[in-house]
Amino acid sequence: MEERLLMKGNEAIGEAAIHAGCRYYFGYPITPQSELIAYMAKRLLKIKGATFIQAESEIAAINMVYGASAAGGRVMTSSSSPGISLKQEGISYLACAELPCVIVNIMRGGPGLGSIQPAQGDYFQATKGGGHGDYHLIVFAPSSVQELVDLTIRAFSLADKYRNPAMILGDGLLGQMMEPVQFKEFDEKNIPSKEDWALGSSHGRKPRRIVPFDLDPNELEKIVNKLGQKYQDMQKEVEYEVVNIDNPDIVIVAYGSIARIVKTTIQKAKQEGINIGLVRPITLYPFPYAAIEEVANKVDKFLVTEMSLGQMVEDVKLAVKGKSQVSFYGRTGGVVISPIEILQEVKKLLD
């Protein structure tokens, strides 16, 4: 299993899901994630008892996920930006009903039909909640094909642990690129049993009900407060990477594909005697507020780089609490930021 395979990001996600025991997939084609749905078709249609359905729409897909998860299946759906917008009602229902699943968003340029090139404009939607009401997804931001694999597997595990939907927030760059990946041994026994809550046959037990509402506000409040408590508990799952953080001139905060571009910037800067640090959130929800605040105690300049008009920058500011200056540099529309323009921005800030 530890062999290195050259895989496309989208396909790697699919293989990782199946590796993690996912046997149900419902999706709808959209660029730049269509290789993922095609991969699931190819693989799942050959596994007995597994299900692949190209749903009639993203809305149908997310509701099939809702049903499959309620019935105890390990289930995934995937799409890209406009398709994820269509799933927002369903996502809010999943969160309310506490149904685990994995949702993949391979982001593209937006808003609107946008473009099909890589972008990161769905950060707010993913982390704050694009659907209605109080809920959060567990959001992972992989930055390599290997991380697409590892974090997809982890997403399934945390989704089950918290009975909450988890999201892989990638982009067209990660989805389309190929890199060598390895699959670590996975023991399906680690998948928690859902026999104690999932729907099915009720022989010898009371019928179960999965009910994402309560018309009595006081009862619904109990449900929402339980969710709130869960989001508190989730904070401990925060993950991030720090690079060169000891005594940098400036710290860049970036996630996903842009974070690896920043690494090239760091190398180039070193050659010019500029010392750049990096904090890379691996989970976007929970967000590494504490880690960033700690850095802010030592460093007085932050630069947030995103392929957007600036979204994560708000969370960085919330973390920094006014202790350091936080600047932003972004490109949009599917333009991938180059290492050199980031370096130029850094130089401007250090002047």
Binding site: I53, S57, N63, M64, Y66, G67, A68, A71
Partner: protein, 254 residues
């Protein structure tokens, strides 16, 4: 109640209904339909293997009434949810219970495609020609000229179209195994309705495929009629436009 001992109980609440009193308005047919579904479950002895899907609509509370596993769907999406459940639990019996706003308006795509995929599910489709839950707006099934909150001067077929006949529309698809329309305004109709609903479950048990029963139903509250007048209106106005009968009955689905 001593009499009970001497006599045979010939009619009582089916076991597949819980003891919770219905939340429906006086005279509303939702209650009769619930009972028929529960009787079918009793007759086929499937309640313990059945998973039901309540819609958003007056029947959102159906999860309280059926003595089987239940889940509440997002408005219109029950057929997609049923698909997800049935694919994970192919040996369970899965049914959706949907209103006409739910199934014929917002959920149009989901019902057409679940039917077309031939999902092995049973759909109970309650056509009361109105949105009951939200206070009486026009449904796709609202009759021409019918006054509702959103057709306050009567449904105008010129701008709002004519009522959609779901059974006829779905019957153009290849996959459905059973499609029928029934009513409940006479004992004879109720007997037929019962049979149709039972068949719709039996076909699922037999793996024949997608089955849907459209039940013409009253909404005295939103129609602004007494239960008695509502039954009459259904007989006089709805049945002529929505003919009763079986539209599809595939004994063997290939």
């Amino acid at each position: 109640m001593g009499v009970k001992k001497l006599m045979k109980q010939v009619f009582t609440k089916p076991k597949s209904l819980t003891d919770v009193p219905f939340t429906y308005c006086p005279g509303c047919h939702h209650g009769i339909i619930h009972r028929l579904v529960a009787e079918a479950m009793d007759d086929l002895n499937i309640a313990e293997d059945t998973i039901g899907i309540a819609p958003v609509g007056c029947a959102v509370f159906a999860y309280l009434f059926f003595e089987c596993d239940m889940i509440v769907a997002a408005h219109g999406r029950a057929p997609a949810i049923a698909t997800g459940i049935k694919r994970v639990k192919p040996d369970n019996i899965v049914f959706t219970y949907q209103g006409d706003g739910d199934l014929a308006s917002i959920g149009t795509a989901e019902i057409v495609h679940a039917a077309n995929r031939g999902e092995k599910i049973t759909v109970i489709f309650v056509n009361n020609a109105i949105y009951g839950m939200t206070g009486g707006q026009m449904a796709p099934t609202t009759l021409e000229g019918q006054i509702t909150q959103t057709s306050p001067y009567g449904r105008d077929s010129k701008t709002m179209g004519m009522p959609i006949r779901i059974c006829e529309l779905l019957s153009t698809l290849n996959s459905p195994a059973y499609i029928a329309r029934v009513a409940l305004t006479k004992p004879a109709y109720i007997v037929k309705a019962k049979k149709a609903i039972k068949k719709a479950f039996q076909y699922q048990l037999d793996g024949k495929g997608f089955a849907l029963v459209e039940v013409l139903s009253t909404c005295p509250t939103s129609w602004g009629l007494s239960p008695k007048e509502a039954n009459e209106w259904l007989n006089e106005k709805m049945i002529p436009y929505y003919p009763l009968g079986e539209f599809k009955n595939v004994e063997e689905v290939s």
